[in-house]
Symmetry: C2
Subunit: 110 residues, 2 copies
DNA sequence: GATTCATATCCATAAATCTTGATATATCGA
DNA sequence: TCGATATATCAAGATTTATGGATATGAATC
């Protein structure tokens, strides 16, 4: 993950509809959702959603796969992983206690 | 952390200068840096940097503290913690294996 | 209190972004 | 092949955002 890639990802998430899409897909898990389902769930017009999905795709935050007439979108956990790693790079240099709370944030029930 | 707060933070980080500032401050650790030092380090004009620091401040990603004539800025790890938690909310619902790579991303040497 | 230093605010312009109607592409079923 | 369905692309208008010059504020020093 380089600076430009991270910027694409952060800018992609810094917009309401796209952040909602990403969170929806994170919750949807490995099954993801069809493009149409996403648009309907968030009450956004088809072409607007398509444009927003394209932004998330370019940013590496979601993947997609055609299934007949529909297209399934899935959160790309590898993409978000790279982003978080980039954000916290060198966080521990000299101050271990500084970033501990951040690590705890993701301590879910996995 | 609610949606609007998360949007502020992500939009703040989705801009080159501000992302560089945040990473610089993460690396600087608990000591942080003076506003002028930051501007000089990143080769950005004083008033532009001041505006960008104000955005990061409003987004809860940095804190500041006046020290005589200068003002020290420090990364707000609690702010970034809340943001990451919001992004990954409910990530494990039914698919523990899905988010494990994300957790591993932050496994630094703390 | 005048001057200097560090930072913030105001304002105008330029650039980027979002949304949307219209339309194109791709797939399926008849 | 034709029509229907699902999604993507195009182009334009509206809104937002970033930058930088000028200036204001706040704090130290003399």
């Amino acid at each position: 993950m380089d600076m430009n890639h991270a910027l694409d990802a952060l800018a992609a998430l810094g917009q309401k509809t796209r952040l909602e899409v990403f969170r929806l897909l994170v919750k949807a898990g490995t099954d993801g959702m069809h493009a149409g389902e996403i648009a309907e769930a968030l009450n956004v017009r088809q072409n607007t959603m398509s444009a927003n999905l394209a932004v998330l795709l370019r940013a590496g935050l979601v993947r997609n796969e055609r299934e007949g007439r529909t297209i399934r979108y899935v959160a790309d956990m590898e993409g978000i992983r790279g982003l978080l790693a980039f954000l916290m790079e060198d966080c521990c240099g000299g101050n271990p206690q500084m970033c501990q709370p951040v690590l705890d944030a993701l301590a879910c029930e996995c």
